[in-house]
């Protein structure tokens, strides 16, 4: 991107992007740690994830304030305007990812010790790994101004849904086999749903990045993993 005649304008825009990267990095490690806390039943780690969420809120507010200031100062146009509006949206998506991850961590705190063993947790870990990849890639697409990469993320959103549905059936089987596993399995269902929704926010970010870079909305067919089972999984926290 060529530079603005007014250098301070470039600096303000870079500061905005830097804050997004900072938020993204935070959210990624929070997700890694939350799943780790779940797998190891590490209550202290879970607690630290919950505590870190407030940092995301703070940076999001900084982004909003800086964006408003830039709009007032520079009257941005065209790609600059899309960039600033897009940054505000991306910050709010990352903030939502943080909330979802925080919910996972909170749940780890109240869950009784593992009941089902590694079998069921493997599915969660796999999902988290996929979503983490989506978040990482979409944030790369933002910092590299790469709409093709954003599109790639957007196209692969279905895989997470498919995994979530598979996990749902798996946990359902355990619950039917042994009613004592119901509480634990239900927690896992909610956690899976939270991870899946974090993935949805990565998809939102992909749409925003694509719009920033091209001025066009992402469109066209994309594989969706949803099925009738989808409607049965927990929908909200």
């Amino acid at each position: 991107m060529t530079q603005h005649i007014v250098r301070a304008y470039d600096e303000e825009l870079s500061a905005l992007s830097a804050k997004i990267n900072q938020m993204g990095g935070l959210a990624e490690t929070m997700l890694v740690d939350a799943v780790d806390a779940l797998v190891r039943h590490d209550i202290a780690k879970a607690k630290s994830v919950v505590e870190r969420d407030v940092q995301l809120d703070t940076i999001q507010h900084e982004i909003e304030e800086l964006a408003v200031l830039i709009i007032a100062r520079r009257q941005p146009m065209a790609n600059d305007l899309r960039h600033i509006m897009g940054t505000i949206r991306i910050a709010s998506d990352i903030e939502r990812i943080g909330d979802l991850v925080k919910n996972i961590a909170k749940r780890v705190g109240v869950m009784e010790d593992r009941f089902l063993g590694a079998r069921s947790l493997a599915g969660i870990q796999h999902m988290a790994h996929l979503v983490l990849g989506q978040i990482k890639t979409v944030l790369d697409s933002f910092s590299q101004n790469n709409p093709a990469l954003a599109r790639h993320v957007w196209l692969h959103d279905g895989e997470v849904d498919t995994l979530n549905n598979a996990l749902f059936r798996e946990l359902l089987t355990y619950m039917m086999e042994d009613p004592r596993s119901i509480t634990f399995s239900t927690h896992l269902l909610f956690i899976a749903k939270n991870i899946e929704r974090a993935g949805d926010h990565a998809t939102n970010i992909a749409e925003t990045v694509h719009f920033i870079e091209t001025g066009q909305q992402l469109s066209g067919p994309r594989p969706k993993g949803g099925s009738s089972v989808f409607a049965l999984t927990p929908s909200d926290e």
């Binding site: 009257q75 941005p76 146009m77 065209a78 899309r82």
Partner: protein
Amino acid sequence: MSFASETAKALNAGDAQGAPKAASAKVAARGVNVHYGEKHALKDVFVDIPEKAVTAFIGPSGCGKSTFLRCINRMNDTISTCRVTGEITIDGKDIYDRMLDPVLLRARVGMVFQKPNPFPKSIYENVAYGPRLHGLARSKAELDEIVVRSLRRASLFEEVKDRLDDPGTGLSGGQQQRLCIARAIAVSPEVILMDEPCSALDPIATAKIEELIDELRENFTIVIVTHSMQQAARVSQRTAFFHLGSLVEEGATDQIFTNPKDRRTQDYITGRFG
């Protein structure tokens, strides 16, 4: 000076770009070139200016905006070194037709300049001058009516109704500019050309002119040159970007300012080096 070759070029260019032409073009330029002596100031401009809408010309200093504006009412005829080729039509009629009287053309195509330039006469006389010159009023009463109506349309009447005999030069800058607009519309032109009409005005006076432009477009075809991107975005429906004497991009104003197609347009409107 309608040249068959120029017209053919116009058609070819239209085809090549596959650009849809505006539905009802009031003013159409086909392969317009302007030279000042050796200097090639405007290069092969093709554009349609739609009727009863505001079209904004933007671009860096010296890119030829004013030059092109002056082609539309043949003001360039008054510059001895200036040579205009190509075709410009209004309602499909060539305005460079040798049979056409430039004075009559300028009654149909009014102009408002950057610096308000009222005649050193009364407010009334400033507005009455044109209609009288073109014999638009048969009686004093009719002339009065034209003057009042024009001042009203220019949103100036309320402020000057008690002092129509005072000199126009005694008004504030913003009022003077509205007086010039009243003077321009008094002869009922079809097209109004405005060359940076607000550059000498404060934000309040500017807002009043912009509001006025928005009202005037119901009845007039307006072309405005402005260095303010925000002004172009606010007042116009179409925007044309000029660069180094060429028309780089023309399109719906909303599109030009949110998602321009040409890299040069984007660099210019976002304040980057070209």
